[in-house]
Symmetry: C2
Subunit: 332 residues, 2 copies
DNA sequence: TTGTAGGCGTTATCAC
DNA sequence: GTGATAACGCCTACAA
């Protein structure tokens, strides 16, 4: 593999000068610089990041820990973070943890050996002790989507509780009283908080959900089954803690011969692209996914460089997107 | 940052012995080994991959180049590859290129400086010269989803042409004669091949598509617009070159008051999770996305290690998944 | 303006 | 069994 030495030989000079042109540091005569640059171009030479890191340079590596990227919400999030980070000069390890603390721990060990400069994580709920080694080494951690207890240096987490309230309130405002709730994965902190928020809002009206159905995985098929269970309790409206859950519910209702929103109102959460492209179009609470990813990248960058000039963006707000799956209940 | 030296001091021994326990090489007495292991555990020490690479070890790094991961097809693909690769001992840089050769080139330069051991790529169509430096260094490249002309060491690319034929044939078998085609992104090799295949199948029946609508981006909204254009030509059936395209078309048809499949048949391609969860459920050609990802990972591993014992899996077949969006046309 | 040399963390080679 | 040590590729004093 070509090294700085190869280039030096090619350009008939010393490694120091090559390093100087590579880094635009110190003095190099125009003539020498030209020779060196041509040698670099010829060889397609790229200096070894490893040697640079070893020498004491920053790694410009960051770890991104997400439950998955085969679910669109996280795919969008991952891509937006990776792009923003790349533009800031970092390269990312995007890791899918399947909500498993064991997997997270494995990836954390990898981050350590790769000397990542920072981590962005949407961690599984069950304990976060495996983040301790990162903290011990002063490696900044930005929590995204879910809090990380004492381990995060910064948190980009929307107000899931409020989100839950908004869903419930919308249905309440429409006049619904028999409301069911479903969602997954049940161990996810965001799901739990939305659930808590929704229940709280119902509670304020002296109501309780007629059924709460929680599942393990983030997929349509399971949501469909949960919805079948929920619908057995004859709600007039249904809260999907995610759009996936809500869309699964639309299908379950359809197969039961229910008309939406006439017989059943459904509201979701996230506003993933599919939400606007199901029939009927899904009413949902939108979170600005890409925007959150960009903010997380910026914050991590700020933490890594300790550069106070990077601005602290406020978290964008949640918005109710009213589409075609919610309406007042039929008067009894 | 703790190093092997720190551990040696802690365990009152030399770096050589620490290295020996780290790598299970050479002789270490049980007593010494215990001391060293405890020092390692105490410190949460992880040896620097950079130093290992520098020393001449393999980097165990691989680059994954995909147009995006915010589109579910690629998100699933990326995750399956990353997982399989991680289990094989590799860490991946998952990079979203937005179908841009310039972006690809930037990532390739990064791969070079990071000394990746291999690359998996679904490249944009426009030329692949920027892969030359990888080839020059003998870094294996596995093409996935799309061929890479002369640059790939191996190719995991389904027969898109056949896929196109299968879509057309299904509609032809049903009795359709006025068939429109839509899809995106139009510069994608896979899209072009499916289109070619579909046209060829129509041609064998002496037919031509009544309309071909191609777009730039992989999203529902654009597909919706394309479908509006296509439907102006009054086809009885419509081929979506991707499920995204087909789902956009379902909505366009719905908004035009068309009943599916009575007034219009629609077939898609890929069988992404949403395909089974739109109404009506989408008939489509399934490609086993995860499986393809696993195969790509295996093949790359084989190329990196040149270990002939890794089996060559055959590419899995395409299957028609008949759901509810296709039916015979209404007799005129 | 250019060149020489040391050291970053690791492993392999060689002595002891 | 164990411990020095050279070398990997790079950057940065420092010397010339």
């Amino acid at each position: 593999m070509a090294s700085i030495k190869t280039i030096a030989t090619l350009a008939q000079t010393s490694v120091a000068s090559v390093s100087r042109v590579l880094n635009n540091s110190g003095y190099v005569s125009a003539a020498l610089r030209a020779k060196i640059e041509s040698a670099i171009a010829q060889t397609n030479f790229q200096p070894s990041s490893d040697a640079r890191i070893l020498r004491g340079g920053k790694s410009h590596l960051v770890g991104i820990l997400l439950p998955s990227i085969d679910v669109q919400f996280f795919g969008i999030l991952a891509q937006s973070m990776e792009q923003a980070l790349f533009d800031l000069g970092y390269q990312s390890f995007i890791c899918s943890t399947a909500e498993s603390a064991a997997h997270e721990a494995r990836y954390v060990a990898m981050f350590l050996s790769r000397r990542v400069g920072g981590v962005i994580a949407a961690s599984a709920e069950a304990g976060a002790a495996h983040f301790a080694p990162l903290r011990a080494r002063g490696i900044p951690i930005v929590a995204i989507d879910r809090d990380l207890h004492g381990y995060a240096s910064d948190s980009i987490v929307i107000d899931h509780d409020l989100g839950g309230r908004m869903m419930a309130q919308h249905l309440l405002d429409l006049g619904h009283r028999k409301i069911a709730i479903l969602g997954a994965p049940q161990h996810s902190q965001s799901i739990k908080r939305r659930l808590a928020g929704a229940k709280a809002a119902l509670g304020q009206s002296g109501l309780q959900p007629v059924s709460v159905q929680l599942g393990m995985t983030h997929d349509f098929a399971q949501a469909y089954d949960l919805a079948r269970n929920a619908l057995a309790h004859r709600p007039t409206a249904l809260i999907g803690l995610t759009d996936i859950a809500a869309i699964g519910a639309i299908h379950a209702a359809h197969d039961l011969g229910l008309q939406i929103p006439r017989d059943l109102s459904i509201i979701g959460f996230d506003d993933i692209p599919s939400a606007a492209f199901v029939l009927p179009r899904l009413t949902t609470i939108a979170q600005p996914i890409r925007h959150l990813g960009h903010i997380a990248a910026q914050r991590l960058h700020r933490l890594i460089t300790s550069d106070p000039s990077v601005q602290m963006n406020a978290l964008p707000a949640l918005t109710l997107i009213q589409r075609d799956t919610t309406a007042p209940p039929i008067p009894a």
